[in-house]
Symmetry: C2
Subunit: 211 residues, 2 copies
């Protein structure tokens, strides 16, 4: 039997411009880490085909969303192209209290709001593409897009990239297997921080005094 030290859960934030491979890394983490759950956002936008309430999003009406904002039920929220998105506080707090870690796939604005509330309970990782050429290649991915759309996307990506300096860790996603290992190592290490292991106090007591 392995020694289990009681620990606090942490909020693990991955941010990146689109085209840096963040979704792939998130999926990989959730698959390899049984003790990690994805934070599910609430949104006022309509479900797309294949999306399930409570899995991809909690789909709520505008009135309900505004009530949740009013009652401070969100950790962070934002409006993007006329749709509202927010992270409900309660499921996150329950997960953390039970020693589960929670993964957040949010942008720099969400990360800023979360950081203000979460403090040391939040660990943030920024994912960068390996080069401008590769970023362009990834953003050009869909054949139906016009040059204007691609140029807009590049401008948006550049703007997001400029927020890298607000994050605790920075991973360059060149080889996705290497980046996956690096993101996993960051999570593993953060779990081992002394301050995240409140159970050490009684464990060490047993070591020193016996019993």
């Amino acid at each position: 039997m392995t020694v289990e030290i009681k620990r606090r859960g942490l909020m693990f934030v991955l941010s990146s411009p689109s085209g840096a491979g963040k979704s792939t890394l998130s999926r990989g983490l959730l698959k390899s880490e049984p003790n990690l759950t994805m934070s599910v956002s609430a949104t006022t936008r309509s479900p797309r085909p294949g999306e399930t309430h409570g899995r991809e999003y909690y789909f709520v009406g505008l009135g309900e969303f505004q009530r949740m904002v009013q009652d401070k039920e969100f950790l962070e929220h934002a409006e993007v192209f006329g749709n509202h998105y927010g992270t409900p506080k309660e499921p996150v707090m329950e997960a953390l209290a039970s020693g589960q870690d929670v993964l957040f796939d949010i942008d720099w604005q969400g990360a800023q709001q979360l950081r203000a509330l979460a403090g040391d309970d939040m660990v943030s990782v920024f994912i960068l593409p390996p080069s401008r050429a590769e970023l362009e290649r990834r953003l050009r991915g869909r054949a139906e897009d016009t040059p204007e759309v691609i140029a807009q996307r590049m401008a948006k990506a550049s703007n997001e990239i400029s927020r890298w300096s607000e994050y605790d860790y920075v991973v360059v996603n060149d080889d996705v297997a290497v980046a996956q290992t690096q993101v996993t190592a960051i999570l593993a290490a953060e779990r081992l921080k002394r301050t995240r292991q409140p159970g050490l106090l009684s464990f060490v007591d047993g070591l020193v005094k016996g019993g």
Copy 2:
């Protein structure tokens, strides 16, 4: 070709009571991490059979040791059972400047001195044994030891263990393969901290502006 971001080396400190498996973990790290070098201490004690000057220790006379203390050539130094031990500053600083990480196998007193000088460049990990019974078993290892010697060792180990709360990370060495993975993850993660990668500034510049 993988993207190489210029980074600063870090001082990686492993401390533990004897019997917690620190030496095994150090050897494992040095074997798996080509970019990690062991800090070699200077000592006034005599070489033991098999020890080589410059590999296990720099063997120096008391006069030379005192001159080095006087000239502030040590990062940390201490006297243990009448022998002097110290970490020469220059080779460590050279390694760090060239982006190499340096491993320190030192006790809590050495770690305290190093922390005061190194600040954020130092990362410290405390290794704990999995249980009091297992610690006793490991300290009882050598058949020729008397109960008094073992009791003394346990008292010394307990005293060292009480310093766990001064360290950044705490690893419980129950299964040595797991502990090895954990220590390796801590080193990997610390290398990815934004503040340890000064090369990111020009790298991101290239991403955003092109060229």
